[in-house]
């Protein structure tokens, strides 16, 4: 589904990703762990198509298509979803208008008719239940005045609305209490199917108790320094990242 081959990326001329290769197949969950500043969010942003990051070497294919040739919105319509580490507040843009436009853009891409207002509201009600998000939030402007946890929940809500093939969750667990964490995990697990895949970026293994990964990759200083099964997360938890730093 997603092949990242020898990916190098830099920002403002500074190289951040220094040769990353990952292969994600449908139905899989990959965890990317690593200390702060190792390049996890950079990788997530590059996958989503942020133009600030320049890919200097390597390639990315998504369902056989060269991802690097697509604009952010085209990647989204093709089924890539990024849950932001720091979701953006957009004053004045209502959640409803925003999501309706987004959902209908996805539908247009698939050759489907846009949803009518009532169909859309019905869909929204349905998905709100999945992530237990309140109407108080969905009636506001996008993320405006949301608490950290509310923002994260809103990301998962959007994911539920858009039903991506590949979801990239960038530290969706940080800033969440256990209850919220469980709801977010439930959202992710509900949406999981043999046809879609998830990349979970985190630096705690806590979330991985709820979303169980097939693979764990450790990113350090712009490189994957270790890849293994889910047991790697536990090992990291025990030994800390210094263990990796010393090894590499």
């Amino acid at each position: 589904m997603l092949q990242i081959k020898n990916l190098h990326a830099s920002v403002d001329g500074k190289e951040i990703l220094k040769g990353i290769s990952i292969d994600v197949k449908p139905g899989e969950i990959h965890a990317i762990m690593g200390p702060n500043g190792s390049g996890k969010s950079t990788l997530a942003n590059v996958l989503a198509g942020h133009e600030k990051y320049e890919v200097t070497e390597g390639e990315i294919f998504f369902e056989g298509e060269n991802l690097l040739e697509l604009a952010a919105e085209e990647r989204a319509r093709n089924g890539i979803f990024l849950s932001f580490q720091y979701p953006i507040e957009i004053p004045g843009v209502s959640m409803v208008n925003f999501l309706k436009t987004a959902v209908n853009e996805h539908r247009k891409h698939k050759g489907l008719e846009p949803l009518t207002a009532s169909q859309f509201l019905k869909l929204m009600e349905e998905k709100k239940k999945v992530v237990e998000i309140s109407s108080q939030l969905t009636n506001r402007s996008v993320n405006e005045g949301f608490s950290g946890g509310e923002k994260k929940r809103n990301e998962i809500f959007q994911m539920a609305m858009l039903e991506p093939k590949l979801a990239i969750l960038d530290e969706t667990d940080s800033g969440l209490d256990i209850d919220a964490l469980r709801i977010v995990a439930k959202g992710v697990n509900t949406l999981k199917s043999p046809h879609n895949a998830t990349i979970v970026v985190t630096h705690y293994q806590r979330l991985l108790e709820y979303i169980v990964p097939d693979y764990v990759h450790v990113l350090y200083n712009g490189k994957i320094v270790k890849s293994a099964g889910k047991e790697l997360a536990l090992e990291l938890e025990k030994k800390g990242y210094d263990w990796i730093k010393n090894e590499s």
């Binding site: 919105e73 957009i90 853009e105």
Partner: protein
């Protein structure tokens, strides 16, 4: 040696008036003509403002008057029915529609729908002659003391415009839409003078639209004086849509008595050089003024909003929200001066000016000012000049929304904060539609009105 005499535009205008003084005085009451002479003297002293004038720091008006233009000291009969020529988009609003042409009340206005008893709505010139007592005492009371050169020029040359009087306890439900048309065979300097008198506990809403109907060079000098008696409510919504070679100089003076409420919203969509002077005096306790403005400008447009609010007595409140979106080589200026006088305790006065520049060459000058001479007041002011938030743009795009659409969503949201202050729902929706079309580049200065020329 040949001596060259520099003949300035100020002198030219003064001569133009003096040579035609008889015509200007003709058909006007003495009190009006006396004001002309006084105003002319003051105008000549200060001259057309340049940037040296502190109040015109960002707008030099001298070049405006250097083009050739004619003046219209007499009403000119129109050859075609203006109602046929002009169809505004806004009136699905169900308004009382009044047309003015080059500053004059249009002689063939259709009968205005049923207005409550005692309301006077019509030509200022006509009312001056028929009911001078309604005008004489107040005429030029506010504009005169402002001592603005362009206001003085208006007083010198004005003969007609719109007059509205709402008696005590009368509420006019339907908005009154006043359409100021500019339509002449030659380049024209049009002068329009309006007066709005709201009796005690009365209420009225004005939608005030400016339109150029052909591409001649127009300068419109449009001055309104508003008197809000105790407990009255006045909404004044301006929609400015002159073509981008035209000049629009507006003045809006208001005097607010106890517990009266003024709400203004100035939406500038097109116009080459637009200068809006708004001057509000809170003269009665518990009066409230809301002054809002939204400008969408591109090409080489220049838009200058110059606001002064005087809190003269205790317990008054005021709010200003002005926003500009500027593209290409457009330039904008905002000056909002809140003056809290010594006795005006318990004043609450807020002001905000936010601006978005869409190009490297667009320019914004903003100057919020607070002058506070009382001690028990709550005031705030803030101004920002920024660009479209790239992070917000990326966020929307990662949800599948195309870049162009995402930009429009962000700009519209920015603009809509001002429109959301408009408290007539249908009007707000129509204005939102206009703004949407303007942001999409689908609204030219002449596209709000569909032309409907009949073959001769």
């Amino acid at each position: 040696m040949i001596e060259t005499i520099k003949y300035t535009a100020t002198e030219e205008l003064a001569d133009l008036f003096t040579q035609n003084r008889e015509i200007y005085n003709e058909g006007c009451p003495d009190f009006m003509n006396r004001k002309r002479s006084e105003a002319l003297d003051k105008f000549v002293k200060t001259g057309i403002p340049s940037r040296k004038n502190e109040n015109y720091k960002y707008t030099d008006l001298r070049p405006v008057f250097q083009n050739d233009f004619t003046v219209l000291p007499r009403y000119v009969q129109q050859q075609i029915d203006l109602h046929e020529l002009f169809h505004c988009d806004v009136p699905q609003l169900n308004t009382h529609l009044v047309l003015l042409i080059n500053g004059w009340y249009y002689g063939h206005n259709r009968k205005i729908g049923q207005l409550p008893n005692g309301v006077v709505l019509g030509s200022l010139n006509h009312v001056c002659r028929e009911h001078p007592h309604l005008i004489e005492k107040a005429y030029n009371q506010l504009a005169g003391i402002s001592d603005d050169p362009i206001a003085n020029l208006n007083t010198t040359m004005a003969k007609d415009g719109l007059f509205l009087y709402v008696p005590d306890d009368v509420k006019i439900d339907k908005p009154i839409q006043i359409v100021n048309l500019l339509y002449a065979k030659e380049n024209t300097f049009a002068v329009q003078r309006n007066m709005f008198v709201l009796g005690k506990n009365s209420e009225a809403t004005i939608v005030f639209c400016d339109h150029t109907l052909n591409h001649n060079y127009y300068i419109l000098n449009n001055l309104s004086e508003c008197f809000l008696e105790e407990d009255s409510k006045f909404n004044f919504y301006a929609v400015q849509n002159m073509h981008n070679g035209a000049v629009n100089n507006t003045h809006f003076f208001a005097d607010l008595k106890e517990r009266s409420t003024l709400h203004t919203n100035t939406l500038t969509l097109n116009g080459g050089l637009v200068r809006n002077n708004i001057n509000v005096k809170l003269n009665g306790e518990y009066a409230h003024a809301d002054l809002n403005g939204l400008t969408l400008a591109d090409e080489k447009q220049h838009i200058d909003n110059f606001i002064t609010i005087d809190h003269r007595v205790p317990n008054c409140t005021s709010n200003q929200l002005y926003k500009n979106i500027l593209d290409n080589k457009a330039s904008g200026a905002f000056s909002g001066r809140i003056h809290v006088l010594r006795d005006a305790q318990k004043t609450e006065a807020y002001q905000r000016n936010n601006n978005v520049l869409l190009s490297e060459t667009a320019e914004m000058n903003t100057k919020p000012q607070l002058i506070i001479d009382a001690d028990d007041v709550r005031c705030s002011h803030g101004a920002t000049v920024g660009r479209i938030d790239e992070d917000a743009l990326f966020y929307l795009r990662t949800r599948g929304i195309g870049e162009k659409e995402a930009r429009l969503m962000i700009m519209f949201a920015f603009a809509d904060e001002v429109l959301s202050q408009v408290n007539i729902k249908v009007l707000r929706q129509r204005l939102e539609e206009l703004v949407n079309r303007r942001l999409r580049g689908e609204l030219g200065p002449c596209q709000t009105c569909s032309f409907n020329f009949r073959k001769p």
